[in-house]
């Protein structure tokens, strides 16, 4: 019985097993230039891209570094680029990105400092989220919601899982390192909508900067890759509209008198 269990093959998809060529980005601080390593992995089509990386780590190369924790798109730590596109590999089945005998390209997220292999430094990203005062509700009472909604926009844990995929996909984040990025701006908009004790004016003035919401170039790539349906692009546009309205209002009021 135990013998069977140790077989690293899952029984779904009629025991079908594919051979997949993983091309994995490699970089170690001490040893020279970034390069790609190739690994052949036996994997069932319903298993995930992350399962394959774990197999490479377990059976072929224990020095491979990649982040992962929850394996169900909730912790936001495993974000990489799969075949060039930002994804959480924990919820991407192999069959969704390639075929038997095909290649899966795994690269670290763009627009973050590289640490090693598939690991990037998210420090600045988290600092910006913190600066937006992004937080979950802390009261001990549950939120009562509309009974007939099976799914709601605002859960206690915010839908943003802070994975960084949006920043990696954003063309502006690539060229402007000071740009706050989609996640922090979407977080700002959430805090303005529902301030939870935070001063919305300070969140507004934080977003209303050269490298804040005005730096966005409306490419909408963030919303394309977001694994949690946060739709950061729409949030940035809403933020702009809100700020624009306020600015126009102030412009007209200034005619009357300076009321500060």
């Amino acid at each position: 019985m135990k013998q069977e269990m140790s077989d690293p093959v899952m029984a779904f998809d009629g025991n079908e097993l594919w051979t997949i060529h993983y091309r994995v980005f490699r970089y170690k601080r001490s040893s020279g230039k970034p390069h790609y390593d190739k690994f052949n992995v036996e994997i069932a089509p319903h298993e995930t891209v992350l399962d394959g990386l774990e197999k490479i780590w377990a059976f072929q190369d224990r020095s491979l570094t990649f982040r992962h924790a929850c394996h169900h798109a909730s912790c936001g730590s495993c974000g990489i680029r799969v075949n060039g596109v930002e994804k959480l590999p924990c919820i991407v089945p192999i069959r969704e990105v390639t075929r038997d005998g095909g290649t899966v390209l795994c690269e670290p997220l763009r627009n973050f400092p590289l640490v090693s292999d598939l690991v990037v430094d998210l420090g600045q990203f988290y600092r910006r989220l913190e600066e937006a005062h992004f937080q979950i509700i802390r009261s001990s009472e549950p939120i009562e919601r509309d009974e007939h909604e099976s799914s709601n926009v605002h859960t206690r844990f915010e839908n943003c899982i802070e994975c960084g995929l949006c920043v990696s996909a954003c063309p502006v984040s690539g060229t402007d390192g000071l740009y706050f990025g989609p996640a922090a701006l979407a977080a700002s908009w959430r805090m303005i909508q529902e301030p939870r004790g935070v001063d919305p004016l300070s969140v507004r003035s934080n977003a209303d900067q050269e490298h804040g919401c005005w730096r966005c170039h409306v490419a909408f790539e963030c919303s394309e890759v977001c694994p949690s349906n946060v739709d950061p692009a729409a949030a940035i546009m809403a933020l702009r509209q809100d700020l624009l309205k306020r600015k126009l209002l102030r412009l007209f009021q200034r005619g009357d008198h300076d009321r500060a």
Partner: protein
């Protein structure tokens, strides 16, 4: 190259990193390129207009050049740039003010459809008139 310069080059090249990106970034890139193109055209245009000050001969020679088929193709490229930059600009301006955000993809492709139509008509006019 210093490290700072190297980073600058890398950041500028990040413009052209299209791997895994969708229509949104293509639209953004094309908008930048057409913007630069139009700026270049504006400078050329001012230069050409200054030919007028140099007398009739130069001007007539230029007009003859402007009627060559190659030049007409360049005219169509120019019209493409104007149409793309202008029409995409409408979308960016609207969506950037929070108008029609939900339908931005539809707005984009509708405007692009309109652009293709206008380009076909103006292209036809350029070569036939």
């Amino acid at each position: 190259m210093t490290e700072h310069e190297e980073r600058r080059v890398r950041k500028t090249l990040a413009w052209l990193d299209m791997a895994g990106r969708k229509a949104g970034t293509w639209a953004f890139l094309l908008n930048r390129l057409t913007g630069l193109g139009l700026l270049l055209y504006l400078l050329l245009h001012l230069g050409v207009l200054s030919l007028l000050a140099m007398g009739e001969m130069q001007w007539d020679a230029f007009i003859a050049l402007a009627r060559s088929p190659l030049f007409l193709v360049l005219d169509v490229v120019l019209i493409f740039g104007i149409l793309y930059h202008g029409l995409n600009g409408i979308r960016v301006a609207l969506v950037g003010m929070g108008i029609g955000v939900r339908w931005q993809k539809g707005i984009f492709w509708t405007l692009m459809g309109l652009g293709v139509l206008l380009l076909a008509i103006t292209g036809w006019l350029v070569f036939t008139m």
